[in-house]
């Protein structure tokens, strides 16, 4: 017998009183060797920017590990303990966000397959009664992406919405479109 869950409600327009914190967008400090910046724009069904949204990211370390008891592979190497894995960035007036991080490693699925490197994303905003969940994949991982069981479960014509675009040295662009042509794929978790 399981209890009813506390229902989700919108973050509303004023979450920025509390939720952002100064180093939130920096999963690793800017200037960390190998750091990449992922940025993009959050837009609504009219194509307009969503200026009161919040993007959160969660990911494995570059070695593909989580310093977390839920990872059944056991304790992580010392270097991975310092990797926070979590980023949080409110969108600006133009709907943009950015996260500074390290590219995650690939992950075993537990049944002999592998997931391509990816970042899980939660999207919150005024007007969203629950978060929307998506994933960022990497453009330089074509072979791993082609074998990724999640990407392969997405209709072929929509997969590109989950793969960040190269935008310069150590820079990737990942736009999040809630509706319309090229709507980002969102997941039922």
């Amino acid at each position: 017998m399981s209890e009813l869950l506390t229902p989700s409600q919108t973050v509303g327009p004023y979450f920025s009183m509390r939720l952002p914190w100064p180093e939130g967008p920096c999963v690793v400090p800017a200037g960390t060797p190998g750091a990449i910046t992922i940025y993009g724009r959050l837009t609504d069904g009219a194509g307009d920017p969503i200026p009161d949204g919040l993007i959160e990211t969660w990911q494995a370390s570059p070695e593909g590990r989580f310093a977390h008891p839920g990872d059944p592979r056991g304790p992580v190497p010392d270097g991975d303990k310092a990797f926070r894995g979590f980023g949080r960035c409110p969108t600006g007036h133009d709907g943009t966000y950015k996260i500074v991080t390290l590219k995650p490693g690939g992950l075993p699925t537990g049944d002999g397959r592998a997931e391509a490197p990816h970042v899980d994303v939660s999207v919150f905003a005024r007007g969203m009664l629950d978060r929307s969940v998506t994933r960022i994949y990497f453009p330089d991982e074509a072979a791993a992406n082609d074998a990724d069981p999640v990407l392969q479960s997405v209709p072929a014509g929509r997969r590109a919405t989950l793969i960040a675009a190269p935008a310069g040295e150590n820079l990737l662009r990942f736009d999040i479109r809630m509706q319309g042509d090229d709507e980002t794929v969102f997941f039922d978790l």
Binding site: L5, P7, G74, P108, L129
Partner: protein, 251 residues
């Protein structure tokens, strides 16, 4: 094949089992497209969601807290030097999962209006007074039993533009991480007996009545502090993993 200290399988060996966090029952969470709340119209996914199997990224999650929270963060009445206006209240409760297990060491973040129904935010224009002694933001970490406790003042109601003469019932926003990405929750705590609940499209977006009532705190006379503060209990239930056969046999 190598076995780690916990008896689980280590990297490279291929096979391991992960917990499966149960999905919410229909009606427990609000639909993302909820026409009574107009802003959902252009901000919900239009395409069907794609099933995301829960794997390593989903069954782990950020374990934040110690570096972000001090004891003072849980007392919203002492953050600005002077005492804020309004009814002093204690808001406390337990964070647990749907299997009844406490969720310890998890970050709880709150934000709210002051007693007059005004948020301290640059884009807030409701003509109610700001309180120089109240910011309306708090943080706490649950203890080993999943318990948290804030001291604050009762928030006020305020008008919003959703429809003619729309007023939000008094509420406190809550944000929780749990222990896994699957457990992340943002919700709002409401107050018992608030006549505005019946008119609020955000509260009523939750179609299951029992679930909806789960967002309404319970007044607790036992936990009031005489001569000082009223008290409201707000327990929060996050998604829990499917119980093992052993747990079901030995609850």
């Amino acid at each position: 094949m190598t076995v780690s200290e916990q008896g689980l399988i280590v990297p490279g060996s291929g096979k391991f089992d992960l917990p499966e966090y149960l999905k919410p029952q229909p009606g427990n969470h609000p639909p993302l497209d909820s026409p009574g709340y107009k802003s959902t119209g252009l901000r919900h996914p239009g395409q069907p969601l794609v099933l995301l199997p829960q794997r390593l990224t989903e069954v782990t999650g950020p374990l934040l807290g110690d570096e972000l929270v001090t004891m003072a963060d849980a007392d919203l009445t002492t953050q600005r030097g002077g005492e804020p206006q309004g009814q002093r209240i204690i808001v406390f409760g337990q964070v647990r999962d749907s299997g009844g297990r406490p969720v310890p060491d998890t970050l709880v973040e709150i934000w709210q209006t002051n007693a007059a129904g005004r948020y301290r935010h640059a884009r807030e224009h409701h003509p109610a007074p700001l309180d120089p002694n109240f910011d309306g933001v708090g943080r706490a970490i649950t203890d080993a039993g999943g318990r948290y406790r804030f001291i604050t003042v009762a928030p006020g109601s305020y008008p919003w533009g959703n429809h003619y003469n729309a007023w939000r019932p008094a509420h406190i926003h809550f944000s929780l991480f749990g222990r896994a990405f699957t457990q992340r929750l943002v919700t709002q705590m409401y107050f018992p007996g608030d006549p505005l609940l019946a008119y609020d499209p955000i509260y009523n977006s939750v179609t299951d009545q029992a679930a909806r009532l789960g967002m309404v705190a319970e007044f607790s006379m036992d936990d009031t502090q005489p001569e000082w503060a009223l008290a409201y209990r707000f327990d929060i239930v996050l998604r829990g993993p499917r119980q093992s056969v052993f747990e079901e046999a030995h609850p």
